[in-house]
């Protein structure tokens, strides 16, 4: 009888799943005692990247703080799909105040915990890219600058999805949104605009800044866990694909998040006190087209007459990220 030896080619990458890993290396999501901080029954769309991102991040934070945690939430998809009274998916103390003040509300909670002698209770602020990079940016920068003891998590789906897919300052160039229509001589979002808030967070020289995607659960959890071991202002920016806003298939959420990283369009890295400490290396570099093509928001770049010029500019952005963050260097691999 012939025998086919089983080969786990990707042992060590976590890709084969948890069963080959020791208990201590398994993901929080795989553990029986995970907190389910964002519980089932919420109203997120099928394939919602933000729901995944929030669940991964908050469960990891709950594990790291032994359940001693409070969250402030900006107005947006996450707030709306998780709560309308009398229902709530949150199994943690949770407050929603406004769209643009979440970092400040978190600062207030942290101050109250300190003054009440409950410094073991840790505070997370969370919001989408609109609530973070646009309307909440003043409060975010203030929280960073004062080095308040808050972890701010931005779930970046690259637009105002809750209000019907409008452009934010995190919307990528050429992307079609309701306010950057795919019409005219330069369809979609303008090139040369927008901001990358992780870099701005680094400029505040806060103790910890990291980026992650929902495609790499272990990396995301490790970063949240690390952030919760540090005091002071911390920022994690998680790329969360949005099937509705991106015009992508709901089963492609994880794949698109991975492609965003593998193209170099979304650099995944860590920084401490303003200096980059590591990057998650691209394993198999792919051209940006692979990331763009499955998304209807970029459909105008393809078709019978592809917009070669725009595609080249987007590829140039990816190349710049690869150079800037060292995404192809072996030593850049996340330790």
């Amino acid at each position: 009888m012939s025998h086919q030896p089983v080969k786990f080619y990707q042992t060590g990458t976590f890709t084969v799943g948890n069963r080959l890993l020791g208990e201590e290396d398994r993901s929080v999501q795989a553990r029986g005692d995970r907190s389910n901080a964002l519980n089932s029954g919420h109203r997120a769309c099928q394939g919602c990247g933000e729901a995944l991102g929030a669940r991964y991040a908050i469960d990891a934070a709950m594990a790291a703080t032994l359940g001693r945690m409070v969250a402030a939430n900006a107005t947006g998809c996450l707030e709306v799909f998780s709560t309308p009274y009398p229902e709530t998916s949150w199994q943690i103390p949770w407050i929603h105040s406004l769209f643009g003040n979440t970092a400040a509300v978190a600062t207030g909670i942290a101050a109250a915990m300190k003054v009440k002698g409950k410094s073991d209770v840790r505070v997370i602020a969370q919001g989408g890219d609109g609530g973070t990079t646009d309307i909440g940016f003043g409060c975010l920068s203030g929280m960073f600058e004062r080095n308040d003891d808050v972890l701010y998590i931005c779930y970046d789906n690259e637009g105002y999805m809750n209000t019907g897919v409008q452009r934010s300052s995190a919307t990528p160039a050429a992307a079609r949104t309701a306010t950057t229509a795919a019409v005219g001589p330069e369809p979609g979002n303008v090139f040369g605009q927008g901001k990358f808030v992780p870099a701005i967070a680094m400029a505040h020289e806060i103790p910890y800044v990291a980026t992650a995607t929902v495609a790499d659960l272990h990396d995301l959890e490790a970063k949240v866990t690390k952030a919760m071991s540090i005091h002071g202002a911390r920022y994690i920016h998680i790329l969360v694909p949005c099937p509705l806003g991106w015009g992508s298939a709901s089963h492609d959420t994880i794949r698109l998040a991975r492609l965003a990283k593998e193209t170099g369009l979304f650099p995944v890295f860590e920084a401490e006190y303003g200096e980059q400490k590591s990057a998650l290396a691209i394993r198999r570099q792919v051209p940006v087209e692979e990331f763009l093509r499955p998304q209807k928001r970029f459909a105008h770049l393809f078709g019978a007459k592809p917009n070669v010029q725009s595609l080249a500019r987007i590829q140039a952005q990816a190349n710049r990220n690869i150079r800037k963050y060292g995404l192809l260097q072996e030593e850049g691999i996340h330790a």
Binding site: P93, N101, A104, V105, G108, I109, A112
Partner: protein, 415 residues
């Protein structure tokens, strides 16, 4: 203990006696001295435990206050004018969430044109925000009202705004009776929040409410505010027991017993008005005063009762509802819906324009003669205002209106 001190310092020391646990500070004239003094008290260790947070805007100040109050900490901030408008979204949010934050508003005009001097436009712009609004006549009252504000707000789970006239009170050195820590501790119980962010008992605060219950939630906000009408006199009476003086209450009257003409006002101008009334009384005029300490909730029944015997009511207010006239007067008129008394609206003191006894005397006598217009502007330079309009008639691109007015006024401007 009697002390001669600046109004801002007095308020800061009184607030410190209330043992606030989180204070958010963003500077704006004329509120600055209050938060400066509190910052010093925290930094030198006189006020502890307390977190003093220098925020980046008034919007952040109120937002930090929302977070700390929701986490169970007694929370204080102060602002004025543009600052109050900048935080307006969070002001409404704090009351909607039912968080008993106490905030001083050092009343100041709202621009444009930018103006740092006193009037009541700022606080009155937030009259429908769901905050309880108290107006101080003197520095002693400002000091005392802050102590009552924490008690009131925390009992009702509602935020309280203590309004004091910018510069006129905040920067005036007056004699005040500063309470002892023992007195304040005896009067003000520990803050026991109705809702709190606590990992041992997780709740979701601030989630969406749809049409099925939003009306009821808002109705209850109204009901809760109206409860202040019962609590405020009660707390003022208890205040007298502990501190030995009358402060607070819904309103107070002066020389009102047999008055045909009643003057209604809020804040420090009441002092000038009372002096003027004293003079008129000596000359045999039956004039009296109603000072409103509480503006929200509006003490409708108490106002109606206090003005029941008056033939005419003159509301002197430091605010202007552009396109209508008075804000305070409109509220007073509502209270007098079933009264035959004539109500006159007098807009006065906007942007720090001095309200003099001379002008008030003429005003009150004119009202007594029933010669006053339904809406008038005290000490308004109509000729100057007219020049501003004239230029617009002759020239399309007439330029900034405010500049034209000041140019027309000439170098020797008379405030």
């Amino acid at each position: 203990m009697l002390k001669q001190m600046e109004g801002s310092r007095a308020v800061a020391e009184a607030v410190a006696l209330c043992r606030p646990e989180v204070i958010c500070a963003y500077p704006i004239s004329p509120q600055t001295h209050i938060v400066e003094a509190l910052g010093e008290l925290v930094k030198e260790g006189a006020l502890t435990p307390c977190e003093f947070i220098n925020v980046e805007s008034e919007f952040a100040a109120m937002s930090v206050a929302i977070g700390s109050s929701a986490a169970g900490a007694r929370t204080y901030t102060a602002t004025a004018s543009q600052g109050l408008l900048f935080m307006a979204e969070a002001v409404y949010n704090a009351s909607g969430l039912g968080l008993p934050i106490v905030m001083t508003v050092a009343n100041r005009a709202i621009g444009a044109p930018i103006n740092i001097w006193n009037d009541h436009s700022d606080a009155l712009s937030q009259r429908d925000s769901g905050w309880i609004q108290l107006f101080a006549e003197t520095n002693q009252e400002a000091l005392d009202l802050h102590i009552q504000a924490f008690r009131l707000g925390e009992e009702l789970s509602l935020p309280v705004m203590v309004c004091m006239d910018g510069f006129i009170l905040t920067h005036a050195y007056e004699r005040v009776d500063m309470p002892t820590q023992g007195q304040v501790d005896a009067y003000l119980p520990r803050f026991e929040p109705r809702q709190i962010l606590d990992p041992t008992d997780p709740v979701s605060i601030g989630a969406m409410v749809g049409p099925e219950a939003f009306m009821e939630v808002r109705y209850l906000a109204h009901v809760k505010q109206m409860q202040a009408l019962e609590l405020i006199p009660k707390y003022a009476a208890e205040f007298k027991e502990v501190f030995g003086r009358n402060t607070g209450g819904l309103l107070h009257t002066y020389q009102a017993e047999d008055a045909d003409t009643m003057i209604v006002a809020m804040g420090s101008v009441l002092g000038t008005i009372k002096d003027t009334v004293d003079e008129l009384r000596e000359a045999g005029h039956r004039v009296g005063v109603l000072g409103l300490t509480l503006f929200r909730p509006f003490p409708t029944a108490a106002v109606a009762a206090a003005l029941a015997g008056a033939k005419r009511v003159v509301v002197v207010e430091k605010s202007l509802a552009v396109g209508l006239g008075g804000i305070v007067a409109t509220n007073v008129r509502m209270a007098l819906a079933n009264s035959p008394a004539h109500v006159f609206t007098v807009v006065a003191g906007l942007g720090g324009r001095a309200i003099t006894m001379k002008a008030l005397r003429e005003l009150f006598l004119k009202a007594e003669r029933e010669e006053l217009d339904a809406l008038s502007f005290l000490d308004l330079n109509l000729e100057l205002a007219g020049k501003g309009l004239e230029l617009e008639l002759v020239k399309r691109r007439s330029g900034p209106l405010a500049e034209n007015l000041l140019r027309a006024a000439g170098p020797a401007r008379n405030y």
